[in-house]
């Protein structure tokens, strides 16, 4: 079965999001674009396995993410273990009145292990639900929740944001049916 015009159109429409996610993962715009290219080729080749009407964006994000990790493995790079790094934290001082510079934020994000970075991006920026993010990352919903929570805490630490760091377990579990489903 040939690729339909709708599929192609939606593919095109998703490219900006795919690039944003790819940059978030690779932290490098050239690598990100190569990753997006691979993703588009793969998506085209296996378009028959996609069910029209289901979430194309999530499907494409899954392909892109798998491609990213398989490339990392090929390069022989160990995937960072979220518990094992960051013994040394670089503190970034908010420029003034606690207002963060975007460059500072980018620097802080770079310091997160991949699994935490992708989780907080998927939930906090790409607009996926915890369930969708879990599917994209091929893990349990609870795992996504804990990664997001650790990512947030770590970003607050690095950026020295106080005052929003003390959410207890209740706050975390209240995210379950959060407002990110849209």
């Amino acid at each position: 079965m040939a690729v339909t015009p709708e599929f192609k159109r939606e593919l095109l429409a998703t490219i900006p999001s795919l690039r944003a996610f790819a940059v978030s993962l690779t932290q490098n715009s050239d690598k990100a674009d190569d990753l997006v290219q691979e993703t588009l080729v793969k998506a085209w080749d296996k378009h028959e396995s996609f069910q029209m009407g289901t979430n194309l964006k999530a499907w494409l994000f899954t392909i892109l993410r798998n491609e990213f990790y398989s490339q990392m493995r090929k390069r022989g790079r160990e995937i960072q273990d979220s518990e094992g790094i960051m013994t040394e934290r670089l503190a970034v001082h908010p420029s003034q009145h606690g207002k963060l510079d975007l460059a500072d934020f980018r620097g802080a994000l770079e310091q997160l292990p991949e699994d935490q970075r992708e989780a907080i991006i998927l939930i906090g920026a790409s607009g996926f639900s915890y369930e969708e993010a879990a599917e994209i990352c091929n893990c349990a919903v609870g795992t996504i929740k804990s990664r997001v929570s650790r990512a947030r805490t770590r970003l607050q630490d690095i950026l020295q944001i106080t005052g929003e760091a003390d959410y207890g377990p209740d706050a975390i579990s209240s995210q379950v049916m959060g407002s990110n489903a849209a």
Binding site: V3, I15, R19, H97
Partner: protein, 67 residues
């Protein structure tokens, strides 16, 4: 823990109520920055190579069908 200066800086007039419901929402500095970071990436101009790539894939498919 939470000084008045911090509250002002974060614009947190309703300290915890909203933040707890959505820790990455607009009331959270992290949530706001995250969206700003990502939105900037999303609004970046898309290079032509991607549209060209899809056209090439489409052309290849048409050729194959014609065989």
């Amino acid at each position: 823990m939470k000084s008045m200066k911090d509250s002002l800086a974060l614009g947190a007039s309703t300290p915890r109520a909203k933040g707890s419901a959505d820790p990455l929402g607009v009331n959270s500095e992290i949530g706001r920055k995250l969206k700003q970071y990502y939105d900037e990436l999303v609004s970046d101009d898309v290079p032509d190579r991607f549209a060209q790539l899809l056209s090439q894939l489409e052309a290849a498919e048409t050729t194959r069908k014609g065989d």
